[in-house]
Amino acid sequence: MFETTRFEIARRRRSTLWLSVGVAVLTAFFLWYYSVLDTESLAVAMDALPPSMLEALNIVTLATIEGFLATELYTFLWVFGFGLYFAYSTGGLIADDIEHDRLDLILTFPHSRTRLFLEKLLAVGAPIVAINVIAGLVVYGGSVLLGEPIEPVRVVLVHLLSIPYFAVCASIGALFSVVVSRSAIAQRAGAGVVLVLFLVESVTAAGETYDWLGSLTPMAYYEPTPLLLEGTYEVLDTVVLLGATIVFTIVASWLFTHRDV
C-alpha cells in the first residue's frame, strides 16, 4: 500500500526540506521584527485606519505577539501564500505527468486510476505537515524566548486546523490538473481560483450585504486571528473544509477515471 505516495514524498524530500527551512527563517524573521517593533506607535497608527480596511485584512491588533503573527504570518503567509502555493503545486499533479509523458507508464501499473490519483494527492500532505510542524515549533519557541509565550494549545490548533484548509486548496488545484493537459495552465487556474476566493472573502468580510458570498470561500472556515487571540474556533468549519475536500477529490477522481489519457 501507498507505494506511489511513498515514491512521490521521497521525490520531493529536497524541495520539502528547503520549503521548511524557508518557512522557519521567515517565521523567525517575523518574530524578530515584532521584538524590535514600536508597538505603541503602531497601535496609534492603526487607530487612524478605517475599520473596514482592518476587517478586510483580518487585523484586530498588531500590538500583541498573537495579533501580529495572526496578521503577518497566518493571514498573509498561511491563508494567502500557502493556500495559493498548494493549489498551484497540485495543478501539476496529473497535468505535469501528462505533459512530460510520465503518465502512460504509471497507468500500466496494476493499480486503479482512483488509487493512483489519491496516492499522488496524499503525497502533498508531506510538505503541508512539514511546514506546519516547523512553523509551530519556531512560533512557540520564539514566543517563549521573547518572554511573551503564546498558549501552546492555540499554536497547535492554528496549525492543525490549517491542514483541512490547505487540503481544500490542494483539491482545487487537483481538479484542474485532471481536466487540463498542460500543467502551466492547470497550475495558474488553481492558484487563480484561490486568489479570487481570497479577494472575495476579504472584500465581503467588511460589509453585511454580500457576506454570504464570503461563506462560499474556504477562507471563511479557517480563521487564525480569533484562534490565536481568544482560542475560539468552530468544529463545524473544519467539517465544512473536509467535506469540500472530499467532494472536490471525488469529482477530480471521477473525471480522471473517465477521461482519455
Binding site: A10, R11, D97, D101, R102, D104, T108, S112, R113
Partner: protein, 318 residues
Amino acid sequence: MDYNYITRIDIWLKKYTNRMASIVVDSLTKTYGETVGVESLSFAVERGEIFGFLGPNGAGKTTTIRTILGLIAPTAGNVRVFDVSVRDRSALTATKAEIGYVPAEIGFPEDVTGNELLDYHAAVKGDSRRGDLLERFSPPLERPIREYSSGNAQQLAIIQAFMHDPALVVLDEPTSGLDPLKQEQFNEFLRAERDRGTTIFFSSHILSEVRHVCDRVGILRDGSLVALESMETLLDGGGKRVHVQTETGDPTPFKTLEGAFDVTTVGSSIRCTYAGPYDRLLETLADCSVQEIEIREPPLEDIFMHFYGNDDTEATDV
C-alpha cells in the same frame, strides 16, 4: 482470495496452458473529433509470438497501443487483452500485472536515480527478473535519470518492462536510442523471451528493425491494416533481387522466365526480381555462361513502399 489474485492465476493458467490470443483487436475505431486515429482495425496477437506492428509515424500505431493498454477508450469496436475488455477499466487493472510496456516517449521522473525508479516499480509490480536483466542491460542506476542519455533511458525502460516477468510486453519503438550492439543484444533477448512463452507486441516504423525478430507483422497505413503476414511470406512475396553477369549480356532468357519481372540490363549485367522456385532460376542460369551472380533479399524499403505507394488500389490489394 480477492479478485485481483484470481485474475492473476487465471492469466498465469492461460499463459502456460492455453493457445488463446493475448490481444484481440476487433473492428477498432478511434477518432479524435474529426481526426481518425485508426479505423475498423482487426487482428489478433497469438500467445508466445513476436508480433511486429509496422507503419510510418502518424499511421495510428501509438493510438492502437494506448487503446490496448486502456489509456484511451475505443470510439467503436473493442480490444480484449487476455480476454478482458479494455472498456472494463477495473477488470483491466488487475490484468496489467501481466503486462510490461516500453512507451515511444519515455517520461521518467528526472529527479530520481535509476535504482529509486526501479524500486518504485518493483514495489508495485514485482521484480523477480531484475537481476537477470541487469546483467544484459546496464544503465547507470546510481545516477539521477536527468543525466541519462537516450540509450540509457531506453535500457531502463526495457528493464522495468520485463522485470516483473509479464506474459505480454508492448514495445513502442523500443530500439530508438540503442546503439547497434545493444540493438542486437536486445533482439537476441526478445527471441529468448518469446521462447519462454512471453508474447511481444513490437511497434516500429522501420521494417529492418523488426526483420530479424518478428514472427508476423501487421502493416498499418492511415489508420487501417493493409497487410497481416508472416515475416517469411512478406519477404518472399517481394521476390529476390538477382544480379547476373553473363558472357553475352542477353536478357532474353530472363524476360521469358516465369516469376521474373523488372528485367533491366546495364552493359553485360542483367538485373531482375525473381519470385519463383529456385530450381527454375538455376535451370535458366545453367544455359547462360554465368560469370558473376548475386541473389539477395530485396531492400526492405522496397517491400515497405509496396504498401505505401501512392496508388491506393495497389496498397489495399495485398
